[in-house]
């Protein structure tokens, strides 16, 4: 997805994990994914560079679709779609 497409996405759930370092964001994402329905989009906010790499791998293993990452001011916005 392009940055424009990502910016236009409306996420069903936003997980703000900026206050926690690895593996915190992953744990928060795991908890949050249970609260949304299949096909819905979730965004994960993380200031952690490692999480940016970890989430796509997590999605691949779980079968969720990784949509892309936006670089915001000092943090990342990672988008994914639940399988």
């Amino acid at each position: 997805m392009t940055n424009e497409e990502l910016s236009a996405l409306s996420a069903a759930k936003s997980v703000d994990a900026r206050g926690t370092a690895c593996p915190g964001p992953l744990l928060e994402a795991k908890k949050a994914i249970g609260t949304i329905a299949s096909g819905e989009v979730m965004e994960i906010l993380s200031a952690d560079e490692g999480t940016r790499v970890d989430i796509p791998k997590w999605c691949a293993k779980q079968g969720h679709e990784y949509l892309g990452t936006l670089e915001e001011n000092g943090y990342y916005k990672i988008f994914m779609k639940k399988k």
């Binding site: 926690t20 370092a21 593996p23 744990l27 994402a29 293993k61």
Partner: protein, 180 residues
């Protein structure tokens, strides 16, 4: 015909064994009792559990100190057990560092940094581990050797006592095994 059946049976047994050896499961033998190594064990375990990997931690030897509850007391210990109890760290928050311990200053600094950099505390990690269903198995022999009693071990939801053969058997089924 009977010969063929025998071969099929042998093959299917082998296939089952191979399938079992590739389970989405992580086994860690946690042997070190240093704060940093317990921390590393917990971070890896939590990351695996977040990925829905079954995690089995086998605590043995020095690592047992991390599972002592600082508030609990054990009665009826013999002299050597009591000495061990006094000399070894009482709980995960009393552990030293494997490097730069500086007589206890190192751990204080690391914990300060962990808070500053938003790393989950070791207490929080154990709590999350319990909620994620991470299993902790305590080596019965180590308990006995170091003179630890079950009544001084932390409350943890998936805790059990077993021997080395449990670790080996479960480890053989795991697709990842670590020794820390």
């Amino acid at each position: 015909m009977a010969q063929l059946q025998k071969e099929i049976d042998a093959l299917s047994k082998k296939v089952t064994m191979l399938e079992n050896s590739r389970k989405d499961q992580l086994s860690i033998a946690v042997v070190s009792g240093d704060f940093d190594k317990i921390l590393a064990s917990m971070v890896i375990a939590l990351a695996a559990a977040a990925n829905d990997t079954q995690v089995k931690l086998f605590f043995s030897f020095w690592a047992l100190s991390a599972l002592r509850d600082e508030k609990k007391k054990a009665k009826s210990k013999d002299f050597i057990s009591r000495m061990f109890g006094v000399m070894l760290p009482k709980g995960r928050n009393k552990l030293g560092l494997s490097n730069l311990n500086m007589m206890g200053m190192g751990p204080v600094m690391i914990k300060h940094l962990m808070r500053k950099k938003n790393v989950l505390s070791i207490d929080r990690m154990f709590k999350e581990a319990g909620e994620l269903g991470i299993e902790i198995t305590i080596c019965e022999m180590s308990m006995d050797l170091m003179g630890f009693k079950k009544e001084e071990i932390i409350d943890y939801p998936n805790l059990r006592y077993a021997g080395a053969s449990t670790f080996v058997n479960e480890g053989l089924e795991s697709s990842m095994q670590l020794f820390i």
